[in-house]
Symmetry: C2
Amino acid sequence: MIILKIGGSILTKKDAPESEVDSVNLKRIALEIKKSLDNSSKELVIVHGAGSFGHPPAKKYKIGQSFDKDEYPQKRIGFCEIQNAVKKLNMLICEEFISHGLPVIAVPASSFITANSKRITDGNLDIFKKYLSKGFIPIIYGDVVLDEDLEFCVISGDQIIQYLASNLNPSKVVLGTDVDGVYNKNPKTHDDAVFYERFSSIEDLDALEGTTNIDVTGGMVGKIKELLYLADLGIESKIINAEIENNIYKVLENDDVKGTVISRSKT
Amino acid sequence: MIILKIGGSILTKKDAPESEVDSVNLKRIALEIKKSLDNSSKELVIVHGAGSFGHPPAKKYKIGQSFDKDEYPQKRIGFCEIQNAVKKLNMLICEEFISHGLPVIAVPASSFITANSKRITDGNLDIFKKYLSKGFIPIIYGDVVLDEDLEFCVISGDQIIQYLASNLNPSKVVLGTDVDGVYNKNPKTHDDAVFYERFSSIEDLDALEGTTNIDVTGGMVGKIKELLYLADLGIESKIINAEIENNIYKVLENDDVKGTVISRSKT
């Protein structure tokens, strides 16, 4: 089984004044997945980010930060607003995927996951196994969930990957982002940025000055931390650039694609 | 805790060429619920029907009927299409409810319920209890779920009420429909239609010639069967007309509202 994450930065327009899907990327990626599934059947779970649908209300309501008791009703309505905003994004993504014949079925994190101090503690994945066994593509996304310590928190698509991968034993974990992988500096602004073919320890993080992909759920550093956790379990993952045509298709086909492998093994 | 069902016939436009929300009813009902919650806090679970969003694709793909093996991929994509269509309706309903300050949080049936021969067999409701304990209003709706016998089936909002009420021990179960309650004939076309103040046995069903509210999930007769099952458990329910202004508000306030009570007791 393959876990494929598609970043919110790929599927939504970051700079649009209103939440907006990047319909060109969305259609292209739907077609790349379909082409690969037509070549040979594969079990696939898709995770997508919240992008410009989830991040503005998450910032507005400061979900995940501690708050005074009298702010509770406002925080709670913010929680609902975020759930509905990411549901809308998911609905638009599923609409496009289904129109190309991809049997995607949403299982939102807020329906079954709970957390403590922003980390997932509980979430029964049996329904994922059932949908997979029937040939569906379960799809889950960055969402809000109840938090034992903080009342509410935001769970990033990256933490979801980690949770799914830890529990579902995938053969492959792929993260499609808007960069080629991990650099020590932002490659869009620094010509001397060094690219990492492989990333294997938390100490390597000190070398990173910043990335192009900062979001409220942690950006590239947050991503790497989740993936190093998987690496500890012996699950290798790869960060690739999903903006480059056919990269998603090629990675699903086991063809060579530029990217950063996150693994504890140095070879 | 109160379980309030709002019928798809109230929230969507049946005769529109495309799936369309009845935004006048939707806003009015949101405000009636809000007004009652502002008077005094209440635990509330909302169930809504699929209306003109769910029924057309459910009919098109004949979900819930047996099929040949080679039809499987088409049925499966139909399942996905229905899930996404009712998700869209739910998103629009939540958007309106949230804008009036109602903390609604969707927990779709397809995320956690499975069935056998079109009857719910499994579905852990712990997350409902958690959201209720935090003052949220969990919202669930007519949806598609995996079926052990038939592969796929449609679960009506009415069956969901029955399942929730059987397991959550509500103090009140209310169904807002587009008629005043149960008649022996269609009151819109028959002046001599007899209204039932109370309905207490399956035999009473023989007296019903038909209702105005026939849908793919069973219409009024299906509704009554679900509610009689609850009556057997000692849970009384009431069918009221949610098209009449303030009926939802009044029923939440324990004020007198015309309707049919479904109960095993004859008094």
